[in-house]
Assembly symmetry: C2
Homo-oligomer: 278 residues x 2
Amino acid sequence: MSDEVVDSNPYSRLMALQRMGIVTNYQAIRQKTVAVVGMGGVGSVAAEMLTRCGVGRLLMYDYDTVELANMNRLFFRPDQAGMTKTAAAAATLTGINPDVALEAFTMNITTLAGFEAFKRSLSDGAGRSRVDLVLSCVDNYEARMTINQVCLELSQAWMESGVSEDAVSGHIQTILPGTTACFACVPPLVVASGIDERTLKREGVCAASLPTTMGIVAGLLVQNSLKYLLEFGSVTRYLGYSSLTDFFPTLDIKPSPGCPSGLEEGLDDLLSQLSALQ
Amino acid sequence: MSDEVVDSNPYSRLMALQRMGIVTNYQAIRQKTVAVVGMGGVGSVAAEMLTRCGVGRLLMYDYDTVELANMNRLFFRPDQAGMTKTAAAAATLTGINPDVALEAFTMNITTLAGFEAFKRSLSDGAGRSRVDLVLSCVDNYEARMTINQVCLELSQAWMESGVSEDAVSGHIQTILPGTTACFACVPPLVVASGIDERTLKREGVCAASLPTTMGIVAGLLVQNSLKYLLEFGSVTRYLGYSSLTDFFPTLDIKPSPGCPSGLEEGLDDLLSQLSALQ
């Protein structure tokens, strides 16, 4: 990773972060491994940002294929329709930055076998995590709970992201096992209120999505990832984005009583903070 | 623009914005013309977002070529190095969505001839504007003042954007001639304080940039463009982004006394609002 200030150096503008005093050691990014789970509208853009930033190793997980209905978000191209998202992403990202070591996993992490394979792929030979950060870019509760459980078992820091079904809101959340609330402490309201998530999807109805909202959520997610990995600025625990009014609430969520991570408090805390914001 | 809910329809997730009650008439975007001035780290992503959203006509302006030093932002690829940014962008965007009518202008708008050609390109035969919105994604004061002057002369709404030289802050601003402060009312502090912008650039020093900050600013810019063009939510007049702390200040800037747009107040108002935020 050269810091030479010439037009032919793809890293010159990144190494400038170090010269300008923002980051102490930018080159440390070459030693980092990040896993992106879900290569949809948020995950694919997050993977591209990490690739362009020169992350050392990038693990990508998805079981789906590229469809023309995905063309209203950034990243995938019409000529990739029918390819698996992981294969299409690997081809594009290698072309953008061949310095990044890519590992593509075409698998569903929510099955019993998937859970075990997912945990094994994140582990070194001694049962510890081999990655520095896991980014959750999935679109359903089961996959988030799977990531939460694997990260608790590996004591692995991760960041959750999400975009609303009407495409105009989103959030990111940083989860540090043993320090912050885990995802099971603070389930989404739809889960806490006992509604079956599947009843929200009706025949002939599809969720909306926008390249703007998804690009912004991916940007906020990777910006906080860079702050976490390279130790600059402050990593935000929970950041919301409400695009209709450009409102960006932040929260600090305490763990629930009986939380699998062994800490306390939680949903009541979130609800009281949310009501204070309204 | 079909609203059929099938995987082969690239517009199904956009038309869902209408079914979900966010936008009254999404198809109106096919009648809109947007100009993106500056196809760098913000402009190229803004152009891609508008293309994927199905804007009717997109005008793109830049005089520069793609360099490998641009690879730390989204959009351009290493195999495009040496191409003009407008030609590279036109090729990529046509591949993504051939429904969008593209016009590429490889020109410097800040020369005397460039100013006239820029104004002519935005005008219909009767000297009125033929575009619905101009997005400023340039990186210098002269180009912003050129856009400001042309948009004042054509009574053309535009949105300004910018990213700081240390890559960790940015902003967008909506400028409606005759309603809001224009860009000349509220020059950047470096201009208001009388420092020559060129003295800030030193030999061997280059500005930093990040795909995250630029992607977020492009997302906020185009999200507000969509709200303006399709009349939903509220368009933010000024929105800042400070990534080290995830701080997003909003301001409403009044025009300066003696403003070319013929309205009043301005810099003092901005300074008092900024000091109130600190």
